[in-house]
């Protein structure tokens, strides 16, 4: 029991150091103020303890003093607020070009899939020194993706994507916890994040068997579901052309504009009437009960790949190509 007894969590991501620095600053500031208050109270309690014949001396309140001890804490609070806000912005803004990992949470397991198609359950292998972004959804209740060593946490909700990202700095194996109470086996919904040196990571990636990358599977599904009938790449179909869509600003029929991110694409598959692109009719049927969360992820990955330069494990998919069988990736 006593041979493994840490008092400070491992620091294994770029953000962890920032969070720890603010935490230590707060410990020092609040610690000093608290100790000052406690010492003052104990000092008063001792110095002015009740003694026969000595009466209390009445002291009038003091407005300048009240204002002083309101303004100074407020100033300190604003510093803490701003510092915390900066870290939060950083935590919520993933770098461009991060490696995506898709996560589907369910009672009570984490299902993860890499861009190359590698699937994992309750285990996530990632390399040191690369930005990794988690694109997460839940099949049932709310869960929360929490890696204490990275100091990141994000609730995972049904019906939408939630995102978080990190940049691991130290190889090792770290806890993955579900931090939002999710029913019977909440405390069993745990796993590990294995951070590897890049070379080891590459060999891990090629070691497993996959049945094609996410985008390739998405492309096959895109064909199979008949999406190509309307979303054509050669001529204007009844639905918008999806090539180059990802990341663009889209004008909607009702005058709003949205950025075409993963959540927008997801919503457009499952609830197409929610955001109709300007110039198109709301004729697309919902795929709500037709595709699973994993299949939505594949479709999203495919549509994203249509906006990427011709590199990466997904190869060069082309929309509306006659090929229906996914190519085998570089490993069988």
């Amino acid at each position: 029991m006593f041979n493994n007894f840490p008092l400070w969590p491992t620091n294994a991501s770029t953000i962890a150091g920032d969070v720890d620095a603010l935490f230590i600053f707060l410990l020092v500031v609040t610690g000093l103020v608290s100790i000052a208050i406690f010492i003052l109270i104990l000092f008063f309690a001792a110095k002015y303890r009740r003694r026969p014949g000595i009466e209390a001396e009445q002291v009038e309140g003091s407005t300048p003093l009240e204002i002083t001890w309101s303004i100074i804490p407020l100033g300190v609070f604003l510093v803490i607020f701003a510092w915390g806000a900066i870290i939060y912005f950083h935590e919520r803004t993933p770098a461009k070009g991060a490696t995506d990992v898709y996560v589907v949470a369910k009672q009570w397991m984490w299902k993860l899939q890499h861009e190359g198609g590698q699937r994992e359950i309750n285990e996530l292998h990632i390399p040191v020194g690369r930005d990794v972004r988690m694109i997460m959804t839940s099949q049932d209740v709310i869960h929360s993706f929490y890696v204490p060593a990275f100091r990141i946490k994000q609730d995972v909700l049904p019906g939408r994507y939630s995102y978080t990202w990190f940049h691991a700095t130290k190889a090792g194996t770290y806890h993955l916890f579900c931090a939002e109470y999710c029913g019977t086996q909440h405390s069993g919904m745990i796993g590990q994040v294995v951070v590897m040196e890049p070379s080891q990571y590459e060999s891990w990636l090629s070691g497993g068997t996959t049945s094609g990358s996410l985008a390739q599977n998405g492309e096959a599904l895109f064909q199979q579901l008949g999406c190509t009938t309307c979303h054509r790449s050669d001529v204007q179909g009844r639905g918008p052309n999806l090539i180059g869509l990802f990341g663009k600003t889209v004008a909607l029929e009702d005058g709003r504009t949205v950025t075409a991110d993963e959540d927008y694409i997801r919503e457009s598959i499952l609830n197409p009437a929610a955001k109709v692109v300007s110039g198109f009719k709301p004729i697309m049927p919902t795929f709500q009960s037709i595709v699973s969360e994993e299949q939505v992820n594949q479709l999203v990955a495919y549509i994203k790949s249509l906006s990427k330069p011709a590199t990466g494990v997904a190869g060069t998919p082309t929309i509306g190509s006659p090929q229906t069988q996914p190519q085998n990736p570089k490993v069988q």
Binding site: P9, S34, I54, Q58, P73, L78, I87, I142, K153, A179
Partner: protein, 545 residues
């Protein structure tokens, strides 16, 4: 002015005026209703405490071995629901507030004595529903009822527990309503707003929250019940609902609810510190204003419970900033209490020890609140034991210390007897030590990353969990002791004089215990609150300590 005259034995007062069960169950005397509440909330406190001990025993070892996972989930859910809705929220307002608000402002009773009795009956009905839900299998949603777990996935007694809290909410609303009207309309001649004890200001602020916040909780729980029973698609994302909507509605009440628990406690502490320092309170208007600001700003910070829930970054920013605005009035209070002791004549009586404990624990709870309001840190520590430790420092370290301090302070007035002072001080010390040993290790556990509501946990968290469990057994002793000696004192305690502490409030200017209508003649107030320079000391009124 009614002067303090001690009449030996047989004098008629609210306790001996009538006898028999119906004289209690049909009473409209605010003091008797306060005692009915005291019995009922004590009952629920020990039920909730029993659940807490089972939780701590389960967490003694990393493996889930004492109870099943489902049982554990029900234990922490029901611990939370019982302690929040059936103990903490009614605790000070419904017991001490009920007893003291009319006495402190020189009124005969609350404005609506029958509604006051109705409040208690609603509480009892809600309590019976909750007990029934527990006995027939319990509920496992956490006290927070998060959707869609509560609406679509849990197969426990969510509907009955939800409706029980719905009913308890109305009990709370009626109490708040009664206090607001009473404080506005029934103050004795001369009892102007700026002469009211700060205990009354604290209850006024609390009542505003009860009136404005509780209906939102009631509506939210009805929506959960309807969604669960009829699948309304309000919170269900598969048919156009939004689970985050539930969280917004829930915390819109449940964050201010924290102030329903802590504000009355702050009021109690102000009364105690002035009395046992024999000082006018430092910064009367600032403390009164701080109570009102806490009530107002408390409504603007709810989404700080949701920084990782999936809100927009800008919303999170606004709620973080606003959260710090609530911290300022809390800090003002702590500084004013400290300044009140300056040049006082300080006695270390039991209530004062609880007040010291309150300031210490509330300060630590408040300071760690600054950590949680800070976005960057909250992402790491939210939903971990850091949060558990933080809110127990506020709600148990703060609110319960204040409640116990108040119970000791006003026990002579309530019962007409003195509790044993030595045992009182010992219990206060045991509570303080047990509390810190239970909850301080949880701050470290939280920063290490141990999530809350875990039935089993990785072995490296064990040492701190063992310390916490050890502390909880000490804390339990500290809580049982006062109950034992309060009961003992009702028969064997020294007879209390009308004003055993030499305290300043109007409640001390009537007999102990008071008569049914509180004052023989309506008092006329011509002095400021806490005029300790004009009040004879306890020594002068010749009370043996």
């Amino acid at each position: 002015m009614a002067t303090a005259i001690t009449i030996p034995a047989e004098r008629e007062h609210y306790l001996n005026k009538e006898h028999g069960i119906s004289s209690w169950l049909l009473t409209t005397d605010h003091k008797r209703i306060a005692l009915l509440y005291l019995l009922s909330i004590t009952f629920f406190f020990f039920i909730g405490g029993f659940f807490a001990l089972l939780i701590r025993l389960e967490l003694l070892t990393p493996a889930g071995d004492l109870v099943q996972a489902d049982t554990y989930n029900k234990l922490f859910s029901m611990h939370g629901q019982v302690m929040v809705f059936f103990f903490l929220i009614p605790s000070i307002p419904a017991v001490l507030g009920n007893f003291l608000v009319p006495l402190m402002i020189g009124a005969k009773d609350l404005a609506f004595p029958k509604i006051n009795l109705l409040s208690w009956y609603l509480y009892v009905i809600a309590g019976i529903m909750m007990l029934h839900a527990m006995i027939t299998g319990g509920v496992d949603t956490g006290w927070t009822f998060y959707t869609p777990l509560s609406t679509a996935f849990s197969n426990t007694h969510v509907i009955e527990a939800g409706l029980s809290i719905f009913v308890a909410g109305f009990s709370s609303i009626f109490t708040g309503l009664n206090f607001v009207v009473t404080i506005h309309r029934m103050r004795a001649p001369g009892m102007t707003w700026s002469r009211m004890p700060l205990f009354i200001w604290a209850h006024y602020a609390t009542s505003i929250i009860q009136l404005l916040g509780t209906p939102v909780l009631a509506i939210t729980l009805v929506l959960v019940v309807l969604e669960r029973a009829f699948h309304l698609c309000i919170f269900d994302s598969t048919c156009g609902g939004d689970p985050l909507l539930f969280q917004h509605l829930f915390w819109f009440y449940s964050h201010p609810a924290v102030y329903i628990m802590i504000l009355p406690s702050m009021g109690v502490v102000t009364e105690i510190i002035t009395c046992f320092s024999r000082k006018r309170v430092f910064g009367y208007h600032f403390i009164a204003l701080a109570s009102i600001s806490i009530a107002v700003f408390g409504f603007l910070v709810w989404a700080h419970h949701m920084f990782v829930a999936g809100m927009s970054v800008y919303a999170a920013l606004a709620f973080s900033l606003l959260s710090y605005s609530v911290a300022v009035p809390s800090a003002i209070k702590v500084f004013n209490w400290t300044a009140t002791m300056y040049k006082g004549s300080i006695s270390y009586s039991t209530p004062m020890l609880y007040a010291f404990g309150f300031i210490g624990l509330f300060t630590m709870g408040g300071m760690t609140g600054l950590f949680l309001a800070s976005l960057g840190i909250d992402v790491h520590v939210t939903d971990t034991y850091f949060v558990v430790a933080h809110f127990h420092y506020i709600m148990v370290g703060g609110a319960v210390m204040g409640y116990l301090g108040g119970m000791h302070f006003w026990w002579p007035k309530i019962s007409g007897r003195m509790y044993p002072e030595g045992w009182g001080r010992l219990a206060a010390l045991i509570v303080f030590i047990g509390f810190n040993l239970t909850f301080f290790p949880q701050f470290i556990l939280g920063y290490l990353g141990m999530p809350r509501r875990y039935w089993q946990y990785p072995p490296e968290f064990q040492v701190l969990n063992v310390l916490s469990t050890a502390g909880s057994t000490i804390l339990a002793v500290g809580y049982v002791l006062p109950m034992v000696y309060f009961l003992w004192s009702m028969r064997y305690g020294k007879i209390a004089s009308d004003n055993p502490w030499g305290a300043a409030g109007l409640e001390w200017k009537t007999s102990s215990p008071p008569t049914t209508f509180n004052f023989d003649e309506t008092p006329v107030v011509t002095w400021e609150a806490y005029n300790y320079d004009e009040i004879p000391t306890p020594e002068e009124v010749a009370v043996e300590r």
